[in-house]
């Protein structure tokens, strides 16, 4: 978008009639905002915007265009935070065209420049809309990241045994996160066994299997043996029918089985004490 600085006459007219134009502009915008902004504040904000616009149009100052777009972007974000729709914000910008048109209706020499001016204002109004959309996208992306983080716990199950309960689809993004968290935990705890539980993974196809194998492979490079647990009957059938080979990776039906296996391999043994519950004192 280029702010046209060849509109010499328009610029001059706008400068000479600043008060009147901004006044009318304020009135029009206030209608759209339905009284949710104070008149004085609004007037002030639009006045600043108008001045910036004039600077950009006169072409005297190189940073003016950048500042104008930045100010509009900030205005759009601020309006969004206060619950205004992006349409309201954009309409507010477009209202300048109406305000100006009312006044120049009698000034015939300005009519040729009006079209270019109008296009420029359209661009600026759209810019506020785009800023709003971009901000929304960022919020969605941040929330997706937060959800990914929350649904990928890596926990110490026992001395020397780390558990990674996977819930939901195992895609590339989650696999990367699982690998990073698992490996960091392995270094921090010195665990030699890790259990990847896939009870909560709805479907295990070739792609998911490959993600699992990658994770096991990475953990192995740090000296850790992985066990895949939580293989449901239907999943087992799918794996076999797809010809997926888990090779020498141990697989168990439940997390409990996997833990027992890991403890056994790690030379740890759990014994039940005969004494049972502590004695009750005399009544």
């Amino acid at each position: 978008m280029d702010v046209d600085n060849t509109q010499v006459r328009m610029t001059a007219y706008m400068r000479d009639h600043q008060d009147k134009v901004v006044g009318r502009w304020s009135e029009l915008v206030a209608v759209g905002l339905r009284g949710r902004s104070s008149a004085a504040e609004l007037r002030h904000e639009l006045d600043d915007l108008y001045t910036l616009l004039l600077r950009a149009m006169s072409g005297a100052d190189e940073q003016a265009v950048g500042e104008l777009r930045a100010t509009l972007a900030e205005m759009s974000r601020s309006r969004a935070r206060n619950g205004f729709t992006p349409t309201q914000t954009a309409l507010g910008v477009f209202a300048l065209k109406d305000a100006l048109y009312e006044l120049i209706a009698d000034a015939a020499e300005l009519v040729p420049e009006y079209l270019a001016f109008s296009r420029m204002i359209d661009d600026l109004g759209l810019h506020t809309f785009e800023t709003y959309a971009a901000a929304r996208e960022q919020i969605i992306a941040d929330q997706a990241d937060a959800m990914l983080e929350l649904s990928t716990p890596v926990m110490k199950l026992w001395e020397g045994v780390i558990a990674v309960p996977l819930v939901g689809t195992l895609d590339s993004a989650r696999t990367q996160l699982v690998m990073e968290k698992l490996l960091e935990t392995l270094v921090a705890t010195g665990a030699e066994h890790a259990v990847l539980d896939i009870t909560g993974v709805p479907t295990v196809d070739t792609e998911v299997a490959q993600h699992l194998l990658k994770t096991v492979s990475a953990a192995r490079l740090l000296g850790t043996d992985c066990i895949v647990s939580g293989i449901r009957p239907q999943v087992a059938q799918t794996i076999v029918s797809l010809g997926i080979e888990f090779g020498d990776i141990a697989t168990k039906a439940t997390l409990a089985d996997a833990l027992a296996y890991a403890l056994e391999r790690g030379g740890q043994h759990i014994e039940k004490r005969n004494s049972g519950l502590p004695q009750q004192g005399p009544a």
Partner: protein
């Protein structure tokens, strides 16, 4: 060219890679280890890569080759201290380094060697 020192402690050879290895140094290390294994009859080799930030396929293959050479001398190699970022990258590259045992650190590596000897 930087030469990586090979230390002998008991029946184990220790190599600690501290620098960004240049290709010549990599090849030289392989040769030095083969020489030492032959000369000392060592039963184990521990290669510590705790300080190594990048392992590309060339270095990866060198590590796998060292494993093979050691076995010819009836010695076991353990690679210790691989950084998570390096492990993830090597996995993505498709290098699983099977044929070389791994451990989190030199202490565990030694335990592995003594357990399996």
């Amino acid at each position: 060219m930087e030469r990586v020192p090979v230390l002998k402690i008991g029946t184990t050879l220790f190599v600690s890679i501290q620098i960004d290895l240049q290709d010549e140094s990599v090849v030289r290390l392989q040769e030095d280890l083969a020489d030492e294994l032959s000369a000392t009859g060592a039963r184990g080799v521990i290669i510590d890569i705790t300080a190594v930030e990048i392992v590309d396929s060339f270095i990866g293959r060198m590590l796998a080759t060292i494993g093979s050479i050691s076995r010819l001398f009836d010695a076991e190699t353990v690679l210790v201290g691989m950084r998570p970022a390096v492990a993830i990258t090597l996995t993505e590259l498709g290098l699983s380094l099977r044929g070389v045992r791994t451990a989190l650190n030199a202490e565990k590596g030694l335990a592995l060697l003594n357990g399996s000897a």
